[in-house]
């Protein structure tokens, strides 16, 4: 091969190197960050799930019944069972809070206002089944419902928090977190009466509306 032929081949090799570099850059370059797409979809999924929770009724998901723990004595002619099939999923969660509010003084729980742990257990199981079905296949999740603390005095407050999740370890990436706020459907006088059984509080100290916060966080699988 004469010098001209060798020059062709060397030119070609240089050209090949540049083209290979261009190819690798193009293949690596992503028009959008894949995580950003995931995050956007996850945020929409979480929003939709919370919206659906505010409308979908328990009756369409097999129904929801429970027997209040507070009835210590069995009444022979009545099962004491409450049928909550007309309630939405969010209302079930809020009712769970109402039934299990706790008074905390100096950082320690005194006692639940209306102890109803069986109801709490059933609601969590029911909602977990629903979440597993609509979110579980795509993301791991954690649903936290808590009341905004109602201050009774500088040292005392009423609160409740419950959570359900599809995983145990915390080493994963949290993709998004969406929150809705609802009012606790409880008349002010009833809340006051319940609290006064355990802790002396005046009417003026109680805030007009008790708020509930429901947060759904999604995590990559």
């Amino acid at each position: 091969m004469d010098k001209r032929g060798q020059a062709y081949v060397i030119d070609m090799l240089l050209f090949a190197l540049m083209v290979a570099l261009a190819c690798s850059l193009l293949i690596k370059a992503s028009p959008t960050e894949p995580n950003a797409v995931d995050d956007r979809y996850a945020a929409n999924l979480a929003q939709s799930t919370l919206l659906a929770f505010q409308h979908a009724t328990a009756g369409e998901l097999g129904g929801f019944k429970y027997t209040p723990d507070i009835l210590a004595v069995q009444i022979p002619w009545s099962s004491g069972e409450r049928d909550l099939q007309h309630k939405t999923l969010a209302q079930l969660l809020v009712e769970d809070m109402f039934c299990n509010l706790r008074v905390e003084v100096g950082g320690k729980d005194i006692a639940p206002l209306k102890p109803n742990q069986e109801f709490d257990r059933q609601v969590r199981k029911f909602l977990k089944t629903v979440l597993d079905e609509i979110v579980g296949g795509r993301f791991d999740y954690r649903l936290v419902a808590r009341t905004m603390p109602i201050d009774l005095s500088p040292a005392a407050q009423v609160h409740f928090e419950t959570s359900m999740e599809s995983f145990n370890d915390n080493g994963r990436r949290q993709v998004c977190s969406e929150t809705i706020r609802m009012c606790l459907p409880i008349p002010r006088w009833e809340l006051l009466l319940g609290i006064q059984d355990i802790y002396p509080v005046s009417n003026s100290r109680l805030e007009p509306e008790a708020l509930v916060e429901i947060t759904l966080s999604l995590w990559s699988k």
Binding site: M1, D2, R4, G5, Q6, Y8, V9, D11, M12, F15, A16, V19, A20, A22, C23, L26, I27, A29, S30, P31, T32, V37, R40, Y41, N44, L45, S48, T49, L51, A52, Q54, H55, A56, T57, G59, E60, L61, H86, T88, V130, E133, I134, V135
Partner: protein, 150 residues
């Protein structure tokens, strides 16, 4: 000697042209992959925007106003018709399905995308959970599935 030299030059030229062709094909393929991914992301974004619009507005109109997240399959058909016509004017095809969790079809609108016809712009689907208003008192959980293509 002179003839042999010409043959070697010719051989070098053939190698150069062949390699150039192969590299250009590789570059074109890389660009095609890149463009395909870009188009997929754009379609997904579009489908997500449309699904949001349907969930919050178009499909959520009730007697007492819009109720985001609660689909009304009875009164939604006309709204959906005009919305899909609006999208069609922009060259966007739309297929909407609302299914209950047990897979029953509560609402379907628009043609199914033709996979062969959509070879260069494949359809993109998004699904979001929604509540479906079946009667005044009963609202079941379901899924809104939106498929878009250009």
């Amino acid at each position: 000697m002179e003839q042999l030299q010409v043959g070697e030059d010719l051989f070098a030229t053939i190698i150069v042209v062949g390699l150039t062709a192969i590299l250009i094909i590789a570059l074109a393929h890389s660009y095609h992959t890149y463009a395909g991914r870009k188009s997929m992301y754009e379609s997904f974004d579009l489908a997500l925007d449309i699904a949001n619009q349907l969930r919050n507005n178009v499909l959520a109109k009730h007697e007492n106003g819009a109720c985001p997240g609660l689909i009304n399959p009875v009164t939604s058909e006309r709204e959906l018709q005009s919305y899909s016509q609006l999208l069609a004017r922009q060259g966007i095809g739309l297929r909407v399905e609302v299914r209950t969790l047990d897979g029953k079809l509560a609402l379907a609108h628009g043609p199914k995308p033709n996979m062969i016809g959509q070879y260069f712009s494949p359809p993109c689907s998004v699904s979001l959970p929604v509540a479906i208003a079946q009667t005044q008192a009963s609202k079941s959980l379901g899924e809104l599935i939106v498929t878009v293509w250009r």
